[in-house]
Symmetry: C3
Subunit: 381 residues, 3 copies
């Protein structure tokens, strides 16, 4: 694996990162409005695309990505966008991804376009990043795709078959039940009769976007049986979601019910409930947490703070790095830089004067925990 030199941020070089949750990027040029729409979790059309840059993420892009385009840090937005057009999307993407320093990326294939533009295939993405690529499968999407042709009686089996088939190519599964219902769902596994009745209701309503609480629960329990780590969106996201219903603490009874199965549960994003996620990772052997999306969005001062808060209670072998980069390769670049920046601030306070320990802890969080959790040493690339 090729080594990149990093950000000169004072983080011991512990080898390439493993991005345990990201998406692919768009291949083609983006207009100013499309670009801006990918710089925010809001899905509302920005009234003024320029205004979107006035955020911690906007500053982070100007800070860490402008130099990759041979511009000074904090170059004006106009200069940034002009230089991006000049270099072309392919070159910009290659630079951003290469310089992120990924050894491997776990790509959630549940989204196939961004701002209306198709995403690169995982293999194309991995090629540009110079990184191994593994797949994360989104379980609600598997179920929605498997539904046409199924009857109420056969829905559970049909979906289970589809899920296990998809899981054969994947190193992990992912659920967006936070969006489809909220994390305050009934933790009990539904009975076959309940599932059958619910499938009937779902099919009668025409299928499509799966929001039936009983089917969402059934799907989670089916996913747990696969043994693959199950990633769960928690915390902030787009306006579809209600924030306090995405508090991972609401999952506690589900965490308890799932514990005997031993399937790892990976809490994604978590902000502003990252301390709650950290405690779950502390208390329950099968719970892990990451700070992806969050560090990407919060920018330089925020990333330091949020990582430190996570590491108050989360054991260091339970925290995973990710970017949740999606659409724009700038997001992967910023996510990697924010993580290194945050670690470079935290490590000297946590292990002052001890570079060996600092490097060891950085390596656990930045790559080893993911390699171990997802079995990446043995995983098919």
């Amino acid at each position: 694996m090729q080594r990149q030199d990093r950000d000169g941020q004072g983080v011991p070089d512990f080898g390439g990162l493993v991005d345990q949750h990201c998406h692919s990027v768009v291949a083609s040029e983006l207009g100013e409005t499309a670009f801006a729409s990918l710089l925010t979790e809001s899905d509302r059309q920005p009234a003024d695309p320029h205004a979107v840059w006035d955020s911690s993420l906007g500053l982070a892009v100007r800070r860490w990505c402008a130099p990759e385009l041979d511009l000074p840090a904090f170059a004006p937005v106009e200069d940034y966008l002009e230089r991006r057009r000049e270099l072309g999307a392919a070159e910009v993407t290659r630079r951003m991804l290469r310089r992120s320093g990924f050894d491997a990326c776990l790509v959630d294939t549940g989204l196939t376009e961004a701002a209306g533009v198709p995403l690169l295939s995982p293999d194309e993405f991995g090629g540009l990043a110079g990184a191994d690529v593994h797949e994360i499968v989104r379980i609600e999407r598997i179920a929605e795709r498997a539904t046409p042709g199924l009857t109420a009686d056969g829905w559970a089996d049909g979906v289970s078959t589809a899920l296990h088939r998809a899981a054969r190519h994947a190193v992990g599964l992912k659920s967006v039940v936070a969006y489809r219902h909220g994390l305050d769902f009934d933790p009990a596994r539904p009975s076959p009769a309940e599932t059958r009745r619910a499938a009937g209701e779902y099919l009668a309503s025409g299928g499509g976007r799966l929001t039936h609480p009983v089917l969402l629960r059934h799907l989670l329990w089916t996913a747990l049986e696969s043994g693959l780590p199950l990633q769960l969106h928690t915390g902030f996201g787009d306006p579809d979601l209600t924030l306090h219903r995405s508090d991972p603490s609401l999952l506690t009874d589900f965490v308890r019910a799932a514990e005997p199965l031993g399937t790892p549960l990976v809490l994604l994003h978590c902000w502003p409930y990252h301390r709650q996620a950290a405690w779950l990772a502390h208390a329950f052997p099968h719970v892990f947490c990451d700070v992806g999306l969050t560090l990407t969005h919060t920018g330089a001062p925020g990333a330091r703070q949020v990582l430190a808060e996570t590491l108050e209670l989360a054991p260091f072998r339970k925290v995973l790095f990710s970017t949740d980069g999606y659409g724009l390769p700038e997001l992967h670049r910023v996510g990697a830089a924010a993580f290194r920046h945050a670690l470079a601030a935290w490590l000297p306070e946590a292990v002052p004067g001890n570079a060996v320990e600092a490097a060891r802890i950085a390596s656990l969080i930045g790559r080893e925990n993911a390699v171990r959790l997802y079995g990446l040493a043995d995983a098919p690339v």
Copy 2:
């Protein structure tokens, strides 16, 4: 507008502040106990007025206000109170307000006294502050005042008329539904029949303090129709309120229901849910947030932290400055100083070595966002 020199705190001078939410101050001398009772959000009589100063706000007053009285920073409380008496309330008030550096203040006229002493009129307040004054009207107070003489059948119309009349002089409205019910109210607009029935119940119980959930909702929806920005108390306050029922995330369904109207919603205070407020401002175009009251109370180390947490996700054009100063001009002075202190710490981390960007962002949050949101350039003074 006269410029004041600020606090030597390293904040680029971006012009005077616009305090988007404050109250007026008492004109007369205050005894030690009355003064102490205004240094806390608790409304319980302090057993020992001196003890009230042992708080982050108490330290902030001694740090930033003592020098305005020609005393060293952190002068003893006795010295502070003695010097205050010596100078007299009028001179102290003038010094505190002038040195806060306000260009304009939006004064909530819903409270007319503090610690049993009448507040100055908004015009008197503005004169002492050397600032333009605009009015914020508290909707529950309008409704309570309009109620005598109304029947159940006429209540909705009568209140609507009173609200629209009051709104003609105002640049914004404000709701204290967090105190009167909690933010976990039913977001749907009540039907005329429901409102009529509820008005009957309210009138039958003698009117007075409005806490009927249906009427509070009706009032919010009436306020939304005015088009004026609607400020909502969220987060901490006095012991009347239940903190977890003041989490602004509980407003999410109301925010969604109100979105088609386009009326701006301004989340006030927010602490300790300021990250939740920041996400709402990030996700929804019509949501704004401020950090007033919070920065005032949390003092120097806290203000830095809380502002930084807010700016993790809140777009810079969605955050507003305020003090929520009330009764004591020290609170306005501390609110302005804490804000500058917090910005002066955050800006160099967010845009290191870039004074132009730092000044631009400071200006957005400190004044321009409010000027734009409330139309202050065109507003009658």
Copy 3:
């Protein structure tokens, strides 16, 4: 009282600490797994005891305790455990406790063993620590012990008698209702008939661990009558507890109902809801909060942050120091060091250049508030 020299952490020497909530320690040698099991709030058997050290608490032990064993800070875990065996448990315990610098410890006697090994008696513990020892009585345990032999009709009286008898030796009471139910309990005092009926149900189910919501409430109200300060576990703990149901804000209606009695309520631990606890201490005269367990677990960078967040709103006379040390004397040592470290970071920001005020505030939080609240000057040792 013998003075210890502290940690060279720049905290003004304000005299010995009063640890307002801790447990005793085990007297005998501990194997590697038993030691590790006491380094985490998780009660699950660690798969790899060495991995447990990879946490902020693990680093804190290596940072602050290794030097007490004549090892360099951050010595490897193997070296630490070997040196610990070499010195023997008695000597290690003596060193850790003495060097913590406690004048007095309030020992919760509700737990009598740790990792299956008996704890030292409070007197033995105090002897090793060179500190006065006072007792905190756990009310649920009193009730469980008093139950055998009681009838449904006599349960309330029998438990009340037992509680008042136990309280005669104690300076405070403690409730773990957060574990037994959650803090979202009905705040009203149950009627005698309700309590009788509930006692009948409890006795019919064989007694034992008390989780009946009505009896838990009855017990709390009985405890309030004693007049002794009532400590309440809030916030994080072991996996028995559901985090969001331990938010102290859920106690608000109970706090209001208890206010006329004047009995002090002391919120323990609180993390990640320490800001909520701080507001309750700010708003209600009879509410206090501590940061024990939390500072112990969060390590050096975290302790600074959490203490600062608590002091944003909590009046300085309402915050108490504790370690919640349990089983391992390292936890007492780390708790004391983390507190001094956190104060040494916060004080210069809060009262820059004012050593007298810094010492006064440190003394309030570190000892005086506890002396006053628990009447320790007059308490029998």
